[in-house]
């Protein structure tokens, strides 16, 4: 591993984004807009806004980073720059870590804005620390980045990559406990939801919303999300091949 190459890669990814201000605006502002909408959709039922809003603070970064990371790495593959980098003294881990770092930074900005808006402008009622919300949001962003990097290996075009979003994210969204408590699902579905990482992301957010301090369950959930992110990042690195047919 080379820290310099990781940092150079992260800087390069951010430079690329800087030339694309519209994408930055979409990434940062759309979650805020959704929270705003949500607040007034549940205008008569603030408790629902509290529970769904907290969960969404974790889900937005996951979805955004999934999309951005899958398209960005797919472009890297199809433009030939990936082949070029791997023909140069570039470590696969350095490249993946560089991407994770760059998208992680964007996720911090995105989460700061969304969390700030939800807590102070929209009156989201959270008993725990906002910093814990931020921590979970950041880990979710890393998980989204990791999943995006990974699935981009199976997409031959940007068209296919976008289709992976409903395929990979929607089932998790349905089963993560956002719409109905996981224990009330059909037992098979509950079993499936137990092995999907987004379930733990949402559980962790719920813990922060309900308890003033980090609970044991919170710690477990956060560790599971972090472990999944690292595992999928490693899988993503394994899909990068120096020699291809």
């Amino acid at each position: 591993m080379s820290t310099s190459r990781t940092l150079a890669t992260a800087a390069r990814v951010l430079h690329q984004l800087r030339h694309d201000p519209r994408s930055i605006a979409l990434m940062v502002l759309v979650p805020c807009l959704m929270l705003f909408l949500l607040r007034y959709v549940f205008d008569g039922n603030e408790q629902t806004f509290d529970s769904i809003g907290a969960s969404l603070l974790g889900i937005f970064p996951l979805i955004t980073m999934f999309l951005v990371a899958s398209i960005a790495t797919l472009r890297e593959r199809t433009s030939g720059t990936l082949e070029r980098l791997l023909a140069m003294p570039m470590g696969k881990g350095d490249l993946i870590a560089g991407y994770a770092l760059a998208f992680g930074l964007i996720a911090v900005v995105q989460s700061l804005l969304a969390t700030g808006l939800a807590l102070w402008a929209l009156g989201l009622d959270v008993i725990g620390s906002p910093w814990l919300l931020l921590l979970v949001a950041l880990l979710d962003a890393l998980l989204g980045t990791a999943l995006g990097l990974f699935v981009s290996a199976f997409a031959a075009s940007e068209f296919q990559a976008v289709q992976f979003m409903p395929a990979v994210i929607f089932p998790q969204l349905l089963l993560c406990g956002l719409f109905t408590a996981r224990e009330q699902m059909q037992p098979v579905l509950e079993g499936i939801s137990n092995v999907l990482p987004m379930s733990y992301a949402v559980d962790a957010m719920a813990e922060v919303q309900r308890y003033p301090d980090a609970t044991g369950d919170f710690t477990r959930d956060v560790l599971i999300v972090a472990a999944c992110a690292v595992l999928v990042l490693a899988l993503g690195a394994a899909t990068l091949r120096r020699r291809t047919a």
Binding site: S2, S4, R5, A8, T9, A11, R12, H15, Q16, H19, D20, S79, G80, T81, E83, R84, L85, L86, A87, M88, P89, M90, R241, R242, R243, T244, A245
Partner: protein, 270 residues
Amino acid sequence: MMNSSGVAVLARGLTVVRGERTVLRGIDFTVPPGRITGLLGPSGCGKSTLMRAAVGTQAKVTGTLEILGKPAGDATLRSRIGYVTQDPAVYDDLTVRQNLDYFASVLQPGRRHRDTRRDYVTRAIADVDLVSHADSLAGRLSGGQRSRVSLAVALLGAPELLVLDEPTVGLDPVLRRDLWNLFHRLADERGATILVSSHVMDEAERCHRLLLMREGEILAEDSPEDLRVRTRTQTVEAAFLHLVDEANARQAGSPQQADPQPKAIQENAR
């Protein structure tokens, strides 16, 4: 730096399979150091595959392939080879300079090499004559300019071997002449070994040595002049066609037409 036989690239029985197809069929050739070796042949004859094998990005390579004395794909070779793919491999949403800065920091990372990197980048931009476009986005450049950005990336850090896959395709005559002059400067002044492919036969005359390819085999390995003399032709193109006809005749199995010159085809019975 070179191996004992003093060649930059040495291939013996080099075979590459892609899917069902055998793209390179047990070929033998060498590339001399510090010279420009042209790899010529029609589209689809295996030129790109041969180059990818040399750079170490091609899967399913068998036989012997030594680059600068090391087996192709060896990790220590990655900073010693500059590689230009057929389609420009650069980031369209970065400027020319940002592209080069990034690739330079992959090649020579770390804060203490900052000055070295800046020199690399400045020289590479000047080499490909893009000084006036250094701060333009690569995606806004013309096709020819983008392929020169891609070439500039390969020139970073003065690599010992340059593998250039059709770098002049689609360029106007003036640019093509300029690039060939650059290739000669790189070989003559910086001692670089250049392996450059083309399917334009008139570029062959500008090479020191030629590898003529057809259907995954090497038809001939010679200097342009010797090739013309040996086939009693006026141009490399005519020489190539002559050799192709001979090979076709041989394949058709008419021994009376078989080539009396044993060097023309290094037939492999593998």
